[in-house]
Amino acid sequence: MSALRRPPPLAVVAVVALAVLMLVPMLWVLILSFKDNTALLADTASAFVPPYTFANYRNIMGEGQVFTWLMNSVIVSLAMTAGVLIVSSLAGYGFARLEFPGRKILFVVVLFGLAIPEQAVIIGRHQIFSALSMHNSYTALVVPGLSMPFGVFLMTQYFRAIPVEIDEAAMLDGASRFRIFWRILLPLTIPAQATLGIFTFFQAWNDYWWPLISATDGQMYTLTVGIAATQVNFAQAEGLGFLMAQAVFAGLPTLIVYLIFQKYIVRAVAGAAGQ
């Protein structure tokens, strides 16, 4: 690395300091999770002195259904991520490249979706799934999340940014429209796909409200609903350590996902930012 590109030491110190500052609440959560609930009830400052315990994590693991809830969250998050990527890519390609009647109006309708909060539609959505007797199923947990206007918008903009000459050159070589989409354009959108995929996965993983009212059978709880249900009344006072251990446990899978895909995630975000 040349001297010109080396960041100034002050900037490095500032960045490190900010990073540490950002980590403080997470470290606080982590420390509390290893403390006895009774000790924390009396004084949270006891977190800074031993003894520490794994009891809160043991209690989470001892909950018979916790791995069922974990698996439900994995299935729902992965299915929703895959679905959103497929739907958004196809729709984005269609809006960016295809000419059909009502295209502009339809795109505006999709954009309107960005402005409609979930609260406005959730009762109607619940009634639809009730009428179809589909609550307490993976379908009910996944399908509503597939309509993601942001994803369609993002992919449309990304496809539009790719020069149309690439399509024309491929057509001259005899490639079909699907082949152009699948073999040429889609690989060029990987950064956007990664961004959308990460965004969707985390949104699905953290979703609480819809699973709360759709998956009312304990066997179908997602992790967010399940671990909330295990909290004793007044958990913020009487079960603070357990509450923090739950936060760590629920966040751990996303941290693992990040560590595994770190290279791609950073590249994707950097690539998306550069577009």
């Binding site: 909950e63 009634q127 913020q236 009487e238």
Partner: protein, 435 residues
């Protein structure tokens, strides 16, 4: 080798395919889950705390009733969003935990099944309930739930600080009986201990301020609600109650900037004389008083909320109950299973009362065993003077939030008392008139 693999698989398949002819009873409850500690415990006497005792009781019921399979659905407190969603989807559980204050809302929409025939079948008479418990579940002559307990806000007292403040006589705490005496006691307490008299929730959690406000209004003989469509907060009683709460705070008699967890911790650390909190904390504080390193060591007492305004000797109470949501698909066998479940809970109400909540049955209140539990005889009177909010008021849960939020804003000085009461009444009436 292949056999080794296939045999367990076939056994598993056979097990999956085996029919379970037990009657399924879906029981939905809050109080959390504690399977790691109590999943295998079916002796309630060996369990502690709400979660532990509830889990052990249900385990015991299953062990005693092998023909019934209890499907236990634990929900995040209070679970009403889930219940409403289940009712909308025509798939409610057979029995659900519900607060007395929430029953009117579901009952008015005809979503609950009166339990008269089920309780008759179970051999449980509503006459056996305490007056406070009965008031929580009766609508006319219909019994809408089986009471599990009654709970109330209490005065949890640090006797060590009270002694230092000279507020103990014959080993018993001297409590105020008028606003003027309250002020005098608080001043004396602060002068001698250097600490505030009152520990209360002042931020984020609005249940505490709401209960105190209701209590003071009721003690003056005031009615918080005029009728089913109109609240009555902006009244002389409301003015006096909220003005008194504000004065205590402004004069430094109360801690500041405390959420629920902070207030409990402050009290346990001995940073204040009286914590206003519910029956559920009696066990925790009793345990703390038995530890030598605690600020409450040998110095904890608990009393009903004192009658500061003497027009009525009354205390606000609420309670937990089992209710049965309407479900046309429920079979007779499931009804019978529910009857046995409710009978079991009635028979074992003493075990639940060890949580600190009041028993729902007069026979237990009068029993030597219950009175022998720590501090119970000091607060038993609440089962006689306890009064829930009026049954005709629906949507009490969101209204309670509004009352607490506005009361908190007024006594901490963010709003004037007049403005807070006006806003409280307007917002509550909007809800009461919205359906």
């Amino acid at each position: 080798m292949r056999r080794l693999i296939l045999a367990p698989l076939l056994a598993l398949l056979a097990a999956c395919g085996a029919s379970d002819d037990r009657t399924e009873l879906v029981v939905q409850r809050f109080f959390g889950s504690c399977q790691a500690d109590y999943g295998a415990v079916n002796d309630p006497t060996k369990a502690d705390g709400e979660c532990g005792i509830m889990t052990a009781l249900i385990n015991r019921f299953e062990a005693d009733n092998p023909d019934i399979r209890v499907v236990e659905n634990v929900v995040f407190w209070p679970g009403y969003d889930q219940l409403t969603a289940q009712l909308a989807a025509n798939g409610p559980p057979d029995l659900v935990t519900m607060h007395s204050s929430a029953i009117s809302d579901y009952e008015a929409r005809d979503l609950l099944e009166p339990l008269n025939p089920v309780l008759a079948q179970a051999g449980v008479s509503p006459e056996s309930f305490t007056p406070a418990a009965r008031a929580g579940v009766m609508v006319g002559d219909q019994v809408m739930g089986l009471p599990i307990d009654v709970w109330a806000p209490l005065w949890h007292i640090n006797m060590n600080l009270f002694r230092k403040a000279g507020l103990v006589r014959d080993g018993r705490p001297i409590l105020p009986s008028s606003p003027e005496e309250f002020d005098a006691h608080a001043r004396q307490f602060h002068e001698r201990t250097g600490k505030p008299y009152l520990v209360q929730v002042t931020d984020k959690d609005f249940a505490g301020p709401m209960r105190i406000f209701y209590m003071y209004v009721m003690q003056q003989g005031g009615a918080p609600f005029r009728d089913a469509r109109h609240s009555n907060f902006n009244s002389p009683e409301g003015q006096r109650a909220l003005g008194f709460m504000r004065d205590l705070y402004q004069q430094g008699h109360s801690v500041r900037n405390q959420d629920y967890a902070g207030a409990v911790s402050t009290f346990l650390k001995g940073e204040g004389g009286v914590l206003i909190d519910g029956t559920w904390m009696v066990g925790q504080f009793t345990a703390a008083s038995q530890r030598e390193d605690s600020a409450l060591a040998d110095g904890y007492a608990v009393r009903p909320f004192p009658a500061i305004f003497k027009e009525r000797n009354v205390s606000l109470v609420d309670g937990h109950n089992w209710v049965m949501p309407r479900d046309e698909r429920r079979t007779q066998a499931q009804r019978e299973a529910a009857a046995r479940f409710l009978r079991f809970f009635a028979d074992n109400n003493f075990q639940w009362a060890r949580t600190g909540h009041f028993p729902a049955y007069t026979s237990i209140i009068e029993s030597a065993a219950w009175r022998a539990l720590p501090h119970r005889s000091d607060i038993a009177v609440l089962t006689q003077i306890g009064e829930p909010l009026p049954r005709f008021v629906r949507r009490q849960s969101p209204i309670e939030f509004i009352v607490g939020e506005e009361a908190s804003a007024a006594f901490t000085g963010q709003k004037s008392v007049d403005r807070a009461l006006q806003d409280m009444q307007r917002r509550a009436d909007e809800i009461l008139q919205s359906f």
